[in-house]
Point group: C2
Chain length 248, copies 2
């Protein structure tokens, strides 16, 4: 027990040193600051990273973990999500030849963090701009990730104006749609924003299974929601897991 406590204290010392460090630090610098042998420090830091409590950026600098940003600092969290997600979204868009978006839920809207648009596949969205949640693929997976209380609030407060003949405007129908998304693990936008825009979206989840973002692909033909759905869902799920793996 004493051994366990000592080991624990070393880990927590490394974590609090990192959090209170005025500048970025490397694993080696932290090991030295905490007077720990390098191998010991690396082992403890690996455990902290495994739980999303520290984050290693591309230069090897250690930063507060995504789990902590998620809880405490929405601005830093969004920035990191956008940065980490960009190459994955870009690779997905290129591989399937479709527009791909990564977005989060903010003030009852979807904020687009990252957009990748292969040549000839333009849509009207813009990064950092917001769009209604009730009529978009990403919006629906984000709504499905809310607690029942939050979703009830959204559904009771909102007006859901019709944008096309397919837009779901009735709160009860919307509640049923979101229930379906929760069960199937993905959502569709069947021409609900524009008559000829079709989207398929999946959630990006954190290690606790909470939805932190939505990832979508969009096309001008309905094939995406029919014949091509299984293959594109697989692509989306792989990309979503990749983003989550890079973040935590």
């Amino acid at each position: 027990m004493v051994e366990g406590s000592k080991s624990l204290d070393k880990t927590l010392l490394l974590l609090t040193e990192l959090l209170t460090c005025p500048n970025e630090a490397t694993a080696l610098q932290l090991a030295e600051k905490c007077c720990l042998p390098r191998a010991t420090a690396y082992r403890h830091l690996a455990a902290l990273a495994r739980h999303g409590l520290i984050f290693r950026d591309r230069n090897g600098s250690l930063l507060p973990g995504t789990m902590l940003l998620e809880v405490f600092d929405q601005a830093d969290f969004s920035r990191r999500l956008g940065e980490v997600g960009r190459p994955v979204v870009s690779a997905l868009a290129k591989a399937v030849g479709m527009v791909s978006h990564l977005g989060i839920f903010e003030q009852d809207m979807v904020t687009y963090l990252t957009k990748s648009e292969p040549e000839g596949e333009a849509v009207f969205t813009r990064e950092s701009h917001q769009l209604e949640a009730y009529c978009s693929g990403i919006g629906k997976v984000l709504l499905a990730g809310l607690s029942s209380t939050e979703l009830d609030k959204y559904l009771s407060e909102g007006a859901f104006p019709s944008l096309t003949k397919n837009t779901i405007t009735d709160p009860h129908a919307l509640a049923k749609e979101i229930g379906g998304v929760r069960k199937s693990g993905h959502s569709v936008d069947c021409g609900e924003i524009e008559d000829t825009l079709f989207c398929l979206a999946v959630p990006v989840v954190d290690p606790k299974g909470r939805t932190i973002a939505g990832l979508s692909v969009s096309a001008r033909t309905q094939e995406l929601l029919e014949r091509d759905r299984p293959a594109r869902l697989l692509d989306l799920q792989k990309a979503s897991e990749e983003i989550s793996r890079l973040l935590y």
Copy 2:
């Protein structure tokens, strides 16, 4: 090593469960959620509390630790500091029969979080209001807690208008004064805001030794800065340590 890692993972699991828990949780609830024996969970939670990573409120609920608030959420941190500090400041004021303040550094000013005013000992300050840092006791300990870069910035940007004949208005004299505070561990306000107001202040520090607040007592006579100084400093230091102990 495997045993050590397992133990570590249990602690970090408890921490991340607590951070991502939508409501307040008790130690028992967390133990159950993480499927840990009660005694094991309590031991791990004690280690987390020891490092300021979790905080137990008066009802036994566990909350994100003050160390984490300090880094990530200034508003929650200030609120907790004010709440935890209030009874200590009040007891100090009562014991010494003087006005006592607890304040933090915000936007180059001192924000008063807590004030306790024994009968017949009125001063003009008000809780949640701000006052200049350069001419107050709390302000000087807060300035002494800044990094050299931050202090240089403050001294080079500020205008330091004279409020009484004793106000230190020259940046070089102020730099020397702050240097003295760093060495002695306490500051004085010798009639620098009002001709007949004298203050003695000490820092409140976190477990890493960083200054998180200033604590002062004020009197209408200069005795506080002369004959009574050693005794009042001891009172202040005890109260400061008590606040820090309650916070982390």
